[in-house]
Symmetry: C2
Subunit: 375 residues, 2 copies
Amino acid sequence: MKILHTADWHIGKTINGQSLLEDQKYVLEQLYEAVKEHKPDVVIISGDLYDLHYPSKDAMVVLEDALSKINLGLNTPIIAISGNHDGKERLNYGEKWFAKSGLKIMTDYHDMFKPVVMNDIHIYVMPYFTPADIRQAFGNKDIHTHQEATDYIVKHMEEVMDDSKTNILVGHLFVAGGESSDSERPLSIGTIETVSAQTFKSFDTVMLGHLHHPFAIQSDYIFYSGSLMQYSFSEQNQAKGYRLFEYSESSFEQNFIPLTPKRSFHVVQASYEDVIHENITIQNQEDYFHFKLTNMDHVTDPLMKIRDIYPNTLQISRQDYEVKEDEIQLDVHALSDIEIIKSFYSHVTDEELSGIKEEKVVQLLEKAINKGVDE
Amino acid sequence: MKILHTADWHIGKTINGQSLLEDQKYVLEQLYEAVKEHKPDVVIISGDLYDLHYPSKDAMVVLEDALSKINLGLNTPIIAISGNHDGKERLNYGEKWFAKSGLKIMTDYHDMFKPVVMNDIHIYVMPYFTPADIRQAFGNKDIHTHQEATDYIVKHMEEVMDDSKTNILVGHLFVAGGESSDSERPLSIGTIETVSAQTFKSFDTVMLGHLHHPFAIQSDYIFYSGSLMQYSFSEQNQAKGYRLFEYSESSFEQNFIPLTPKRSFHVVQASYEDVIHENITIQNQEDYFHFKLTNMDHVTDPLMKIRDIYPNTLQISRQDYEVKEDEIQLDVHALSDIEIIKSFYSHVTDEELSGIKEEKVVQLLEKAINKGVDE
């Protein structure tokens, strides 16, 4: 029994206005070739197939094409769950027809306690949920954290679990201790989003999505496949690919197999002059760049000039900018939205943002974020 | 051979902010019962399944449910084409899987010359197109009107047509002489949108969508099914339903069969006092109303007060409003956008809007309209 595990495709993602659709098609073509070569019994996609709840029509065409080539073209079953970026109703549109061809798009919380049975392998799915989702779906008022919600679900899975089988869990969540990158959106605001690895001890293998690093967690039974490709500069030099699991009666083997991207992400520190005169070592001018530049005080329109040479430059920033004393010094890219707001609040008022004020800000923030990704 | 013909579902349509989704589910349930009762060999849907290119997730759930109950639940084939309200990429998402169960969502212009063959019946489909769509798809620069585009397509259909068979055309278009209502959006701006009935003389039967009146055209071989339900006050007292076609070797029969809506549309002319004191004859207070009222000069918030009694009042208008001499007198509901703009222009400038100015306005208008319905 062979399983190919992938996750976090984020079809339709853009970075600073640049669409990554061509990059995604390029890597998905390789993933298709990998399925053709390895002939897995099933392909598992652990959530975040789309980048937005409301995917563009171009993103829909790319996803449909990738799924149909693997499922219909190679006659390979697929089990996919929704992640925090997916709109459930849009992701599972057509699901009743898909299922007839072995493409299971699983988004319904009530399907979590019926494993997909493939010979001696029982596959449990855990589509992405918030604590509120589980509170509502199962009428349990005592669930307030991701840990409590996951505990509740796992407990009910354990009740139906057959220990004589190989039990696999497919989920989209943040295991405590996991290494995150800049391209994951927080699962929730104002509550701890992590779930302890201990939670999943009844399962033989846990195949996860959400964290984009394929080695985000060190464990012999919990695995992230990592994202389809690099999605932020914090992922430069990070291999991206898929995992291959092979189960036999006596043995279990897993391997991470990298895919080659169309373009890689690079952070380059240099003086503006060296970049513009090509006095730096760059292997592929078409790659994605973030230039951190010095000596650019009197340069106008630097991005335009740099893009003449490196057309896929996504970001430039000045390194010789002097921080004034009354400014807050924050690495905004490394902080969550609520952390940035709290720092600003205490900087301006000399008080901590807490209690009902913090709750209100969290509510507004959640509203603003959800408005951006769904109707 | 039995065919059930329906069109213009407009799932997700709202009128003055009121969602019609519950009404649509109610009528679709009856349509499902009709399919169950009549057991047609195929259900034909002649376009405008959705109301918007970018349907809401609730609209998607209603459409998926209606299609799956008929196609998977009753095992009945469906042939559906895209109308001017449908976004092709969103409508046909999943099409490759749907087709395996006999649900054909046909949006591709290159499929127009391959009829769907069902015994001796050959069904040609003509998804909605603009002249520009056909110009682009077939590289023909001489196509500028709906008539020219349709002539071009029909000519190529005729080249492959087998005259010994019963040839049916499924389309979404405006046949010249057809009776329109207030709920159709113009197919194009600034060019004539109608196509002559003569165009279709090679076909045995033409099953159309777009015009919402089931008897929009008097013909013995061209039929509109009419919309699923009333969608404007201009359709009050208009029956809505589906058509049933029966073909045998020696005979052909067709019938229009009405469906019962959850609520009807009514225009009521009365004095405000009579309405508010319920001195008018209303069969169902839950119906949709447009009240045209007199004697309401000093009433504040009339809509709120009337909705206390008739909760689904969609519109009220004053009948005792004196039109001042320098105002334009236009029935804006009966005119197209470009006609309203042209009237305004000539009222303000004493000149006609024409030539390059008119073209520019048409371009802007098309841009504004498309922005509203798609990304």
